[in-house]
């Protein structure tokens, strides 16, 4: 075998392959305007009404265009029109149908009506569902079964067509949310907001049951008041009550246009068995279309030849110009012809291929971190000399994500709003040293959690003003008694303060201390373990033993995580609980069982996280809203936390516009959550992205999904680097050959001896 390998290698070296021998891509692609990336898991759904996960949006975001998008460069994230001509307008009506002024009290508003006007002249990607024959009739709708029998791959549909985008397509998609065969994950949520969606879903479900599975279900034939077309380019959506967060949904693929022709085309008998479905072959107006869909191996996006006139933004956030992010301002988008996503399930090969130049960008795993990043003198992350030499660039951004450790508030030991239970949770909040966690497991790629709202989202407070006084205290390193320790917390004083806080609108805790001190000193420190031990004793567990029975306190940690990474994390958690002499039993289980426990409320302590759907504090605070609790209602409040005061404040906060008033309400809510400590606010992960120097215009944007159109690539530079980094080592072949040669001699000698022996015998 070694000889064969040698022969092939040698042949390849001699004929001077146009690309290195270990290149995973076809030689024909070399030097083209292609962007190389990877996906770790095959996307389950590519139907914009159904897909609801980050790894699918990577594709969908570039194919489908909802009316709005987030500005690529500006921070904090701002919405801007995408296919919409202008930002949507909203009108409010009361129960009697009278129009209300824009500043009307939200309680009086019974109905909001959003009007969205789209740009004319936008066209769909080429697709067989639009193809027409000479007579102008749809070419493939209807399609004879024997005609379909000849078609094996999607590319076999030889004729394609396109047409202009209209407001109908947007309304059609909103109706599709209720389609029983689409099973949209937001149907339940949107039924609470969009007028008549629930009834539509019910009517459609009944109709679907009545007909055979093969038959086409015409969802346009049903009554639906929730969305309607005004003219060719304008449509309106009717929302129950006031729901200011609705505009954020208008930037998600759920509200992207879907042409009715696509449904008619794909729902024909025999299509699904060939994997031809909207869930598999999208039809969009975006900058790219899905040209090759083989999720076992590769997904290829190709530039949409009919893409509308779209230009690189001319303005950005401060510093963007210096970073070269505005160099392409005003350029026609998209700038790359093809984007190839290869299947790469594991981190290790991904990272190695990135270093070999075969992927254009990469994240950083905790194992590759030391190789790529070192902290500079200011404690800021910086690239290592090795990475610099390779021309690799680093971009960091705080993710609008919260990771937390949750307590099941229904649990008899750690749950409930009673004083001892609260103290137990506070003690644990102090004892679990997430600074160390972030440094070991995230290599510092995380921001210590101080409350439920991540940075970059309205309501988050930076610096000392935002610290969680239950767990941290301001520390100026001068030995001066920290201002918060006095009235801030500890013992019954805390409760008094907390209760007072509940009765009268409180000043936030951190403002009660001398604000001067906060201004002078920007450092804070975790409270010492002694305080945690004291709290634990007050909770009824001195030295980690139940004061009543004398038994060791044993707590249970439920997790669905498995694998080596999880193991070391569990070991670490055990160590943290042991600091308070508490035994931690890890109940590792599979994902199903874990979910089941969470639903039944039989878990005790768990890890959980939340990714922002949209940049609004409501999207985080609702995770603690009592009526959304997991047990019983199946909501997203995994800790089953329920505090009436918090719930009351939430209901007020959610309809408010951003401003000082809203901030004050949020501050109160955050304060309550910190005191009750249903969660240990663990960390907000920071995204660290590496990319090679030949990829331009990369700025992390964690809300947008249509990022590919902004990218530019320099294929010549890439080819040069790839050649440089991938010279095959030939010495092992030489060594093998030498070894084999070395073995021949004793073999020959033994053979001779044998011959002699048989001859003599």
């Amino acid at each position: 075998m070694a000889k064969m390998a040698f022969a092939i290698l040698a042949a390849c070296v001699l004929t001077a392959c146009s690309q290195p021998v270990n290149s995973p891509y076809p030689a024909a692609e070399a030097g083209k305007s292609v962007l190389y990336s990877a996906f770790g898991e095959r996307p389950k759904h590519l139907d914009p009404a159904r897909s609801y996960s980050e790894n699918e949006y990577v594709f969908l975001g570039n194919i489908y265009e909802p009316p709005l998008q987030y500005h690529y460069l500006k921070r904090p994230y701002v919405l801007e029109p995408q296919t919409a001509a202008v930002m949507p307008t909203v009108r409010y009506f009361d129960a009697a149908g009278r129009e209300l002024p824009a500043d009307a009290d939200s309680a009086a508003i019974a109905l909001s009506e959003y009007e969205i006007r789209i740009k004319p002249g936008i066209r769909y990607q080429p697709h067989p569902c639009f193809a027409r024959d000479a007579a102008g009739k749809p070419r493939y709708i209807p399609m004879r079964p024997e005609e379909l029998a000849d078609i094996d791959h999607f590319q076999d549909f030889s004729e394609t067509g396109s047409r202009e985008l209209t407001a109908d397509d947007y309304v059609y998609q909103i109706r599709r949310l209720a389609h029983p065969r689409v099973q949209s994950p937001i149907l339940g949520l949107m039924s609470d907001y969009i007028v008549g969606l629930k009834d539509l879903a019910k009517a459609l479900a009944e109709a679907a049951k009545a007909q055979s599975k093969e038959d086409y279900l015409d969802i346009n034939a049903f009554d639906f008041e929730g969305a309607y077309v005004v003219d060719r380019y304008t449509y309106r959506v009717r929302i129950k009550g006031k729901y200011p967060q609705f505009v954020y949904w208008l930037a998600m693929p759920f509200f992207a246009p879907v042409p009715e022709e696509a449904e008619r085309f794909y729902r024909q008998p025999g299509m699904a068995a060939k994997n031809f479905s909207l869930d598999w072959q999208p039809v969009g107006t975006g900058a790219y279309y899905l040209a090759e869909n083989e999720p076992n191996r590769v997904m290829r996006l190709q530039r949409n030849p009919h893409y509308r006139e779209d230009f690189y933004p001319a303005e950005g956030a401060p510093g963007d110009r210096e970073a070269g992010l505005l160099a392409d301002a005003g350029q026609r988008l998209p700038m790359v012809d093809t984007v190839v996503y290869s299947l790469e399930k594991e981190d290790v090969p991904y990272w190695n291929k990135f270093l070999q130049g075969y992927y254009d960008a990469s994240g950083i795993t905790s194992d590759s971190f030391d190789q790529a990043i070192r902290m500079n003198a200011d404690g800021e992350p910086d690239l290592t000399p090795d990475m610099r030499e390779r021309g690799i660039q680093l971009a960091t951004a705080a993710r609008p994500t919260l990771s937390y450790m949750g307590f099941n508030m229904l649990d008899p030991v750690v749950g409930g709003l009673s004083e001892p239970a609260r103290k137990l949770r506070q003690a644990l909040s102090i004892a679990i040293d997430y600074e160390e966690f972030i440094s070991i497991f995230l290599n510092g790629r995380g921001l210590l959690g101080q409350g439920p709202i991540p940075p970059g989202i309205f309501g988050h407070r930076e610096g000392v003003a935002g610290i969680n006084p239950v767990v941290f205290r301001v520390d100026c390193g001068t030995g001066v008694s920290p201002p918060l320790a006095k009235g801030g917390r500890g013992g019954s004083a805390t409760t008094a303060v907390a209760q007072a806080a509940l009765k009268s609108p409180p000043t936030p805790l951190y403002e009660r201390g001398e604000s001067r001190a906060a201004g002078d000193c920007a450092k804070f420190k975790r409270r010492p373990l002694e305080e945690a031990k004291k709290l634990l004793a007050e909770a009824g567990y001195p030295n980690g033993r139940d004061a009543r029975t004398g038994q060791h306190l044993t707590l249970y940690f439920d997790t669905a995580a498995s694998g080596p990474e999880a193991k070391s994390r569990m070991d670490w958690f055990r160590k943290q609980f042991a600091k308070l002499d508490i035994q931690l039993v890890v109940r590792a289980t599979d994902y199903n069982r874990f979910q089941d426990k969470m639903r039944k409320g039989s878990a005790q302590i768990f890890e959980w996280g939340w990714n922002a759907d949209y940049p609004d504090p409501e999207n985080f605070l609702f995770l603690l809203y009592g009526p959304h609790r997991k047990v019983g209602t199946g909501g997203e409040n995994a800790a089953n936390y329920q505090n009436p005061e918090f719930d009351r404040l939430f209901e007020r906060m959610k309809d408010m516009d951003n401003g000082p008033e809203r901030q004050a309400v949020i501050d109160q809510m955050v304060h309550i959550a910190r005191e009750d400590a249903p969660w240990i606010f663990a960390f907000h992960p920071k995204s660290f992205g590496l990319r090679h120097g030949w990829v331009k215009n990369v700025k992390p944007n964690l809300m947008s999904h249509n990022l590919l159109k902004y990218r530019r690539v320099d294929p010549a530079a890439r080819a040069a680097y790839q050649a440089k980094w991938n010279r095959p080592a030939l010495w092992p072949l030489a060594v093998t050959a030498a070894l084999l040669a070395g073995m021949i001699w004793p073999a020959v000698a033994a053979y001779r001896r044998r011959q002699k022996a048989t001859a003599n015998a």
Binding site: P185, G188, R754
Partner: protein
């Protein structure tokens, strides 16, 4: 002979039925249809109505083995087990729980699996047998002892080490092959060579030793001595007589696995990112996609049974004395 084959294949039916029963029982002890719905619907905002809808859409809204609500024979036939497992017998695997057609998936994924498994199998057989013959040729000498010790040492190393080390050295350090991935067509060789080399290395200890033992046993027999006494050269004795007569035990171990080559190797495929049936199976286990697991178990069993029949047939080919009846 045809008679025999038909009989053997009929005998396969109760076995496959047993296999199906077992997988059903095991799987539904772990997963309720509701669990499956939740997995496929994702984590956010899942309502009970959505779950019901999913179950209805995918045919999981029926009882498992016994439908008390139905009439007469439908009590047994209108159930999940009958609905889902009988179709397998005509190789209609239906769609996976994510909506993709399984038969189609198997058809495309089978080729990469075969592209690795077949060369590994053939080259491996050739290499292991030649190596074993070499050892036998030098039996009793230091070379033989060294070879046997090498074999035992090689087989004492966990297969994972071979894969890890192979990928690290050949892929990362020496830049010989792409670290992982696959391209169909002519480009495939550079993706296949490394997994094949690694599997060959991982198998050599065990197999070479096994074949050596077979040959040594054969070489001690009288007819070999007679042949040698007639003055046949050592090489001729080895290839003609020893190898020929060791064929039956070799076939017993070898033919049975041939049909299963289609299923690919779980570990190799998932390590090197080969989109074959092995990685398909692993993914299905991890995603708890029952439809796929069930189909792969069924297919595995079927291929195994075919392998048994093939083994019997191959006996008649190498040894005319064997008759099937």
């Amino acid at each position: 002979m045809l008679n025999y084959i038909v009989r053997r294949l009929l005998y396969a039916i109760p076995i496959l039925l047993g296999v199906n029963l077992l997988t059903f029982a095991l799987f539904f002890m772990v997963n309720t249809p509701e669990d499956m719905a939740r997995i496929h619907l994702g984590a956010k905002h899942v309502t009970p109505e959505a779950i019901e809808g999913w179950k209805r859409e995918h045919g999981y809204d029926k009882p498992l083995f016994f439908n008390a609500a139905a009439e007469g024979a439908a009590k047994v036939s209108d159930t999940l087990f009958v609905e889902k497992s009988l179709k397998l017998f005509v190789l209609d695997f239906g769609p996976a729980d994510d909506g993709r057609d399984i038969a189609r998936e198997i058809k495309t994924r089978m080729w990469p699996s075969l592209a690795i498994a077949l060369p590994t199998f053939l080259v491996g057989l050739l290499a292991y047998i030649s190596f074993a013959l070499l050892l036998v040729f030098f039996r009793g000498t230091r070379l033989d002892t060294a070879g046997v010790i090498l074999c035992v040492a090689l087989m004492s190393i966990s297969g994972l080490f071979y894969v890890i080390a192979g990928q690290y050295l050949m892929g990362k350090l020496w830049h010989w092959f792409p670290i992982s991935g696959y391209q169909p067509g002519l480009d495939a060789w550079k993706f296949l060579l490394m997994p094949v080399l690694v599997s060959l290395a991982a198998g050599i200890g065990d197999s070479a030793r096994f074949y050596r033992a077979l040959f040594i046993e054969e070489i001690g027999k009288d007819y070999v001595r007679t042949a040698r006494a007639k003055g046949l050269s050592e090489l001729r004795v080895l290839f003609r007589h020893v190898l020929g007569n060791a064929m039956i035990p070799i076939l017993t171990g070898v033919v049975v696995v041939i049909p299963r080559l289609f299923l690919g190797s779980l570990i190799i495929e998932s390590f090197f990112g080969i989109p074959g049936l092995g990685s398909y199976t692993i993914d299905a286990i991890q995603a708890q996609d029952f439809a796929i697991v069930r189909s792969m178990v069924f297919l595995g069993s079927l291929l195994y049974i075919i392998g048994l029949v093939l083994t019997d047939i191959s006996y008649t080919l190498v040894d005319p004395r064997v008759r099937l009846e």
